[in-house]
């Protein structure tokens, strides 16, 4: 690198550039937070949804599944499982685990009550109605 561009100039560009883009990021974040209520389906967050999200978390569902494309890639996407399978199928599925089919991937039995499963389903329904810019590309997730 040329000698006219000194280390202290490089340092100043680093601090200036880093700060500028961090502030820009904060501004975009602020704008995003303003725009979210129209997109994030938060008007439909009920106590059941909140409890469903908590059950989703404390059973580490993300350790196998993806939700809106994020998580592990071992088991199906669940951001759109509500429209894909419907509430009755989901309930029967959760209750029926593990399948015990030899050699197949196994989902644990989480021993949730019927009311708990309904809340998990309420959470998945809420998640499926978030405006995700039309992702995933099709119903298979």
């Amino acid at each position: 690198m040329s000698a006219t561009f000194t280390k202290s100039m490089a340092r100043n560009v680093f601090y200036g550039g880093g700060l500028f883009f961090f502030l820009l990021f904060i501004a975009l974040t602020f704008d995003t937070m303003q725009a979210l209520p129209k997109r994030d389906n938060s008007q439909n967050i009920t106590p059941a949804v909140a409890h469903g999200k908590k059950l989703w978390e404390v059973n580490n569902c993300i350790g196998c599944h993806t939700l809106l494309g994020e998580g592990a890639y071992f088991a199906p996407e669940l951001g759109n499982v509500y429209p894909r399978r419907g509430p009755d199928f989901i309930k029967a599925w959760i209750k029926g685990q593990p399948t015990g089919a030899p050699g197949r991937r196994q989902m644990p039995q989480f021993n949730l009550s019927d009311a708990d499963i309904d809340d998990v389903i309420a959470f998945l329904k809420y998640a499926s109605e978030i405006n995700t810019n039309k992702w995933p590309p099709n119903i298979e997730g």
Binding site: M1, F14, G17, V58, C64, L68, G71, A72, F110
Partner: protein, 458 residues
């Protein structure tokens, strides 16, 4: 070694390597579960194995970063560590917290662990990579603060170099952004949005400062190139890191409910994210070509060059592969993401820690470099691990492309599990490459015990 207090680094390095071995063993378990679905079920379900695999990765890298800074800061600042005792206490606290957390994952159902550890007081658990119970999260904050305090106090009483400033800034960012792990709102979009403030701003932001500082330090040592030149490069590289990487966070905001404009911000800026990695490659090779001395530790130079190349491939190239919004629309959440994740973490972070260990460990053991035979074995380990990780990445990329084709692009899309059956050949191949990786790692560990005539200090 020049300063007595540098010796604390040794503990950290040993723990890092031990946990690395654990990470790989759990990686192999998961890899097998991809094709033999009921392997070890229900003793170790996939989600538990994955938690152990990713959490061990984070913890061993943090041990590596801490050990590296306790080694390099005294040399950079030309003074003893502020408190070697605090560094040792911090080590044992962190190791105990780490081991207890992993045992908790393995021995107690996750929901029971959450209940036991106060997740009802403040729920933070059950999110990818942030699965740690509340006390562990608090512990991580305390450990990071103790580390930051020790390093900052050392720097205040000694010489202030660019390398030590950048390293400290990286650590400060690491501590600050981790605080977002305590924010877990019911609103899923906000949850995901700020989750990335930990995950992305760590690995594509502040961790790169730590990486750059460590690499620059080793390059000065093994090449003898003038500090002014190296540090100027360091500043330019990390400037590009922050300029591209901060707004580049947007590439995670395409499909999680955030406004569509992130597709533009994210695509444009993250498309530039390979630039700092490319500069790092040019920088490392340039410095080695212009070297003013022949350092007897050949292995360390190999690790350093390897870091720069593999970080560019894994983080730069494989990141670029699926970062543009129209491509990411199809690639998001597939095995392509897993491919990128593996090579990026290995290339950038695992390798830079191993570079630092390779350079510092012989000195901590009282010699300039290891015996010739030990170095040759270490270099074999480098090639075995690096080539096999590259193949793991290629196989997962193949799996990802076929998955995208069958599940998302086809006019008659197949279901997720049907597709998984179709791509099992790639998973078998990946598992094979994983076994080679384990052989490489075993060789690496053995290389520490090879006896012979070691190189004394000049």
């Amino acid at each position: 070694m020049k300063y007595k207090s540098q010796a604390v680094a040794k503990l950290y390095f040993i723990a890092a390597i031990a946990l690395f071995l654990g990470q790989i063993i759990f990686g192999l378990i998961m890899g097998l579960q991809y094709v033999v679905g009921d392997f070890l079920f229900p003793a170790i379900p996939f989600n538990v194995a994955r938690m152990v695999h990713t959490n061990l990765l984070i913890v061993w890298l943090l041990f590596g970063f801490m050990g590296a800074s306790y080694y390099l800061i005294p040399e950079e600042t030309e003074t003893e560590l502020f408190s070697p005792k605090l560094a040792i206490i911090t080590f044992w606290v962190f190791l105990a917290a780490g081991v207890l957390t992993i045992l908790g994952y393995l021995l107690v159902p996750y929901a029971a662990l959450a209940k036991m550890t106060g997740n009802d007081l403040l729920n933070t658990m059950g999110r990818e990579f942030l699965e740690q119970p509340l006390p562990t999260k608090v512990g991580i904050v305390l450990v990071a603060l103790s580390w930051l305090f020790n390093i900052t106090m050392t720097m205040l009483k000694g010489r202030k170099t660019a390398i030590s400033l950048v390293l400290t800034l990286g650590m400060l960012g690491l501590a600050v952004f981790f605080l977002f792990s305590f924010y877990d709102p019911v609103n899923l979009v906000k949850d995901k949005f700020y989750w990335w403030w930990v995950v992305h701003l760590w690995v594509e932001g502040v961790w790169e400062l730590i990486l750059g500082a460590m690499l620059a330090f080793v390059l000065i040592k093994v090449t003898g190139v003038d500090r002014e030149v190296v540090e100027k490069w360091l500043y330019v590289i990390i400037t590009m890191t922050l300029v591209t990487g901060i707004i580049g966070t947007g590439h995670h905001y395409y499909w999680i409910g955030a406004p569509a404009y992130w597709q533009w911000w994210g695509s444009i800026f993250s498309a530039l994210e390979p630039i700092p990695f490319f500069m790092m490659t040019v920088f490392a090779f340039n410095m080695v070509n212009k070297r003013r001395r022949e350092h007897p530790n050949k292995a360390a130079t190999l690790w350093a060059l390897g870091t720069s190349v593999m970080a560019f491939l894994g983080a730069g190239l494989w990141g670029f592969l699926h970062t543009l919004a129209p491509i990411n629309y199809y690639a998001h959440g597939t095995q392509l993401t897993a491919a990128h994740g593996h090579l990026a973490f290995y290339g950038a972070y695992a390798l830079v820690v191993l570079t630092m260990i390779s350079y510092a460990m012989p000195i901590l053991r009282g010699r300039a470099a290891n015996p010739e035979r030990a170095q040759i074995m270490e270099m074999w380990a480098f090639w075995l691990m690096t080539v096999s990780m590259f193949f793991i990445t290629l196989f997962l990329t193949g799996a990802g492309i076929v998955q995208i084709w069958l599940q998302r692009l086809s006019s008659t899309p197949m279901s997720f599990m049907a597709v998984q059956d179709q791509i099992s050949i790639f998973y078998w191949a990946r598992e094979g490459a994983g076994i080679v990786f384990l052989i490489g790692l075993t060789l690496y560990i053995r290389s520490f015990f090879v006896k012979g005539e070691s190189k004394a200090f000049e």
